[in-house]
């Protein structure tokens, strides 16, 4: 019987567990809310994964894993722009840049990140196509699933708890007028600062997540931390959503814009 269904009934972690235990070989397709993912398994281990269009290439993957530097990548990219990942890998080994183990570890870091993203998908149809293998031009990995499954199970639990705290990503955030604690002592992470820079009653959390490229779990975690720190509060989004492309002023009317700047001037003068 074909392995297919909906993530609502059978979670991604359960799927991984099943494929791992049954040592299946083939492709798992998941149609998420906005993108389709494909994960290739070989005897229950992950060989290849992609979300959306596959624009990855080995050299970028190795830069992200800090195995080569951006200058080396640019040089190699130019020289081997028409080569497959396999050919690039062979060149890197033969020329002494990296050994085979390092190349596989870089690919595994990349695959792990994709799987971590898929853990946050709670909606979407899936199907498993038996026998499908890694594309010829790609290097097939053999990523063990045991640790990832344990990590995913923890994340699922965390996600369920965060969903209770922040039930909807369609809510907006505003800075609290009088934070309940001495915010001078608040230390924020880079992700938290990214979110803070988009806090505005007109931006939904979902929009902020898109602008900051955070997935559902990550944005919920950040928002929860900011709520706990007393920096922001949840509100209903007000008015039409503003563009996150960075408009300086909400109004387009020149007279209103000037009036707004004049109000700022009056306020600064009065300080």
């Amino acid at each position: 019987m074909a392995l297919k269904g909906n993530l609502r009934e059978f979670s991604f972690i359960q799927l991984l567990n099943l494929i791992n235990l049954a040592k299946k070989t083939g492709a798992l397709y998941v149609e998420g809310p906005s993108e389709i993912s494909k994960v290739i398994f070989r005897e229950g281990k992950i060989a290849y994964a992609v979300i959306g269009q596959d624009t990855s290439n080995l050299l970028q993957i190795l830069v992200n894993a800090s195995l080569i530097n951006p200058t080396q990548e640019a040089l190699l990219q130019e020289r081997y722009k028409n080569s497959s990942d396999k050919e690039k890998g062979i060149y890197l080994i033969n020329s002494g840049y990296l050994n085979q183990e390092q190349i596989f570890s870089g690919i595994e870091v990349y695959l792990t990140e994709i799987i971590r993203q898929l853990f946050t998908w709670s909606e979407g149809f899936f199907r498993f196509e038996t026998g499908e293998l890694t594309p010829d031009e790609k290097i097939p990995a053999r990523l063990n699933l045991e640790n990832l499954i344990i990590e995913g199970a923890r994340k699922l639990h965390e996600m369920e708890e965060l969903r209770e705290e922040i039930p909807s990503l369609e809510m907006a955030l505003k800075f609290t007028d009088r934070p309940g604690m001495n915010i001078r002592n608040v230390n924020l992470s880079v992700e938290e600062w990214r979110v803070v820079s988009y806090v505005n009653p007109k931006n939904t959390i979902q929009q902020i997540a898109r602008a900051t490229k955070l997935n559902d779990l990550e944005i919920r975690k950040v928002v929860y931390a900011l709520l706990q720190a007393g920096l922001v509060e949840l509100i209903r989004p007000g008015g039409a959503p503003i563009a996150l492309s960075g408009r300086r002023l909400a109004t387009k009317d020149p007279a209103e814009q000037k009036s707004l700047v004049n109000r700022l001037i009056d306020r600064i003068r009065s300080i």
Binding site: K174, P179, N187, R194, K202, G239, R247, Q257, V261, L264
Partner: protein
Amino acid sequence: MQTQTVKIVVTGPFNAGKTELIRSVSEIDVVSTEKKITSEAEKIKNSTTVAMDFGRITVDDDLVLFLFGTPGQKRFDFMWEILSEGMLGFIVMIDSTRPETFREARSILETFRAYAPTPYIVAANKQDCQDAWEVEDIRVALRLDPSIKLLPCIAKKKSSVKTILLELLYGILEEMDSGKS
């Protein structure tokens, strides 16, 4: 009515006085992330801004001005583009007593101009220090066109910071009048 927020970014090299400027006029305790400095070259003070500073000035019920300070150290410059998004204008702080940072200040200025063609002002900070360079000497050193506003500044003095903010806002008004915005 929903509150509208506008943003001014305060940038400049490490230890130029960005945090101090925001602290002088913000009505809330400035939120800043301070971290022990690891680079020997930057051990002028014990800690520096990791991500950014954040201050606020409420105009009225429906208008709030946010002041965002950028990280002082080069290794956090990936935050600059994020911070520059949607800014009304920006202030480049210069440490008038450290000419070795002028080249970096110039580079930061150029980077921010590339991110967003918004009005800006250059503030020559620490003018109360004995070894501060004259403002016009700084202009020459930074190769600033005479049309670019370069003002003396003492970031710990509220009156001086007010002047800087007002000059920037006047520049924004001028730009609106000229129809460039």
